[in-house]
Amino acid sequence: AMEERRYRSASGAPIALRRRQHSASCRELAVRCPRLQLRSLSAVTCAVWLAAYGLFVLSENSMVLSAAIFITLIGLIIYLHFVKIDQESLLVIGSLGIQVTSSYASGKESTTFIEMSQVKDVVINEAIHMQKVIYYLCILLQDPGDPQGVSEVVPLFQSSKPRLDCLIEVYKSCQEILEQRMTAPQSS
C-alpha cells in the first residue's frame, strides 16, 4: 500500500511524503526534496562565466577562461555528489531496527542502521534555527549504562526540514510500529 502527499518545508519549498507499508511491522517513509532547478544552474554558470570573461578582458590571460570552466565543472560535481540531497527516507522494521537513508542527486546513498535495542523513542523536538523556531523529528538512543538516560539524539530529515503537519504523520506511523515492541515481549 503506497500513498503520497504534498507538504511544505520549513523554508516554503514544496516537498512530498511517500508512505509505503510493506508488511504489518515494516513501513517506509520517504520525503522527497525539490530537484535542482535548471534556471538556477544556468544563472550560476552564466554569472561565473561573465565574471571570468571580465577578468580575461582585463588581464588578457586565456588561462582565466579555462580555469573558470574547470571550476564550474568541479563545483557542479561536488555539489551533486556531496551537497544536494534528493530524498531522505526512514525504514522502520519492527524487531530489527530503523534505517535512515539520504540519497544525493548523483545517485549516492548514505545509510545508517540503528538496531531496535538501541532505540529508546522517536520524538518531535523544537529547535532555534537562525531566526526561526522549527520542529524536527529525532531518534533517541538508549544509554547502555543507564536505563532512563539518553546517550545520543539522531535528528532526521535535516536537509528537507518538513513542517509540523508532515512530521506528525511520520511520527504517528513510527509510533504504531514502536508500540508493537512494547506489547509483545513474551519471547525467552
Binding site: 510493506h22 522494521i93 545509510t111 519471547s187
Partner: protein
Amino acid sequence: MVLKVFFPSCCFSAESGILIGRWILEQNSAVILAVVHFPFIPIQVKQYLSEVQRVTKVSVSVLGSWSNSKQEKEEGLSEFLEDLGTIFSHEPWIQISKEGDSKFWSCSVLQKHSNNPKEEEIILVYYDQRKVLLSHLHPPLDTATPHKAEDASKLSAIFDTVAKSKVLFMTDRYDDGPIKLTHWQSDGIEASIIVELMKQASVPACMLLTFLLSLISGVCRSRVLKFWPLSFLWSKLSTCEQLGHRLQHLQVISSNKKAQTQAQLMRKANIFVSLLIDVALGILLVSWLYRKNRIGHLADTLIPVADHVAEELQDLLRWLMGAPAGLKMNRALDQVLGRFFLYHIHLWISYIHLMSPFIEMILWYVGLSACLGLTVALCILSDIIALLTFHIYCFYVYGARLYCLKIYGLSSLWRLFRGKKWNVLRQRVDSCSYDLDQLFIGTLLFTILLFLLPTTALYYLVFTLLRLLVVIVQGLIHLLVDLIDSLPLYSVILRLCRSYRLAAGVKFRVLEQRDGKPLRLLMQINPLSYSSVVQTYRLPTYSCYPKDSWASLCKKLFLGELIYPWKHKGEKQD
C-alpha cells in the same frame, strides 16, 4: 513476536533438504548456515553437528526443512517433512518451501510447546554468506565504556556465527562423506597459487630478515656508538630517528608470530605496504636525481646558496648597525653586537669554503641512502637545512640569552625601584627596606638597562623571526614525513577495492512483496567511511607535536626563553 530467518543467498537453488544453523533465542532469530541434502542418516547428521559444535564452539543444530520442488507440490512430502521435525526435535521447527522459480517462498513455523496460538510474523532476511564471513564489524568509535555480553550488538552475533563456522564450510560437494551440504563454498574451495606460494616463501624470508635485523640492531647498540659526541649527534639528527623507526617496523613485520586479532593483522599489512611504497618512491627519486648528474648540479649550487645566505645576513646586520627603520639605536652597543655577529658569519663562511671540495662527494653518497625510502630522503633534506642554517640558530641563541638576561635584570631592578623583593622561599613578592646605596646603584643599573633595551630587543626580534622561518620550513617537512609514516595505505586500498571487508554496519533493502508471504529483506554490508578507516588504523609515529599552546609560546617569546617547537622524544606517541 516476530521470527527472523537469515537465509544465505547461495542456497537459493539448493536441492531439498534440512536446514542447519544457529538459533539465537534472545533475538528470536535463526541464522541458517547450510542445507543438508537427502538422503542422509539422522544419526550421522547429529554426530557431524556435535563435532562441528565441539570445534567451533557455535551451537549449530538442525533448524528446519527446505523444499525446492521444480514440479507441482507433492502431498507426501509435507508429511515427510513434518516427520523430520519429530526426529530432529527443535523448537520452533521452520519449514521453507519454494515452488518452481517463484521468488515468493512460503514459510511456516511449527511450535509444539507454545501456549501462544497466534500466528507469528516471519521476516526472511537474505545475506551474502561469503561477504559476511570475510567482513569485520567495527564498533562505533565513541564507545568508551566496556559493554556487557548481552548489550553487544545483535548484528555482531550474526557476524560471529558465520565467521566462527569456517570449518563447516570446508566440506564441499565433491567430498565422499555421508553428508552432502550446500553453502557458499560447496562448489569447491577456491585458492590462489600466487598466495599459496607467497605464504610458503614468507617463512624463510622472515627468518632471514630477522637474522639481518638482529645483526644491524646489535651493531647499533654497540658501545662504540654511545660515546658522548656521537650519541649527541645521533639524537639531534632526525634521519637517525626515522631509520630507527623504520627498523622497528621491519622487526614487527618479520616476527614469526601470526597476528592474533584483526587489528594486529591490519597493522602488519599497513606497515608492509607503507614500507614498500616508501622504498619504491625513494628508488624513483634516486633514479631521477642521478640521471643527468642532477646531484652534481645540486652540490654545485649548494655553496653559492650558502654564500648568498651569508651575504644577505651581513647586509641585514649592517642595516641594523645603522638606523634600522628610522629607529635610533645606542651606537656603542650596536657596534659591539653587530661586529660580534659579523665575525661569526665570517668564520662560518670560511668553514663552508674549507669543506667545499668534499661537498660533492659527500652529497653523492648521502643521496644514495635515499634508496631506503622517501621519508629518509626528506629527513636528510631537513637535516641539511638545519646544518646550513646553524649560524642562524647560534645567533638566535645569543640574542635570546642576552634579551632574557636583560628582561630578568629589568624585572628584578623594577621591584627594587618600588621597594619590593622576590622571596624565593615563599615564591612571592615581599616588601623590603633597602639601604640608600643599594637603592642608588639599583636605580642606576635599571636606567642603563632600560635605555639599552631597544637595541637588544631589535636584534632579538630579527633573529627570532629568522629562526622561526627555518623552524616552519623544517616543520612542514616533518609533517610530510609523519603523513607518509602514519597513513594506513593497505586499509584505504582495501576499503576501495573490497569494501565489504571493513564494515561499519549493515543496510537492509526491501525486496518485492506479496500478500500472505513473509516479508523479504536483503541485508547488505555498509562499509566504513574513509575518515573512520584512517582514524581506526593509523600507525603510531614518534614525533610529538608542539605541546605549547599559542599563549604559552607567545609568553616564552616575550620573556626570551628558548623555544624548541619540534622536539623529538624517544618514546612513540599515537
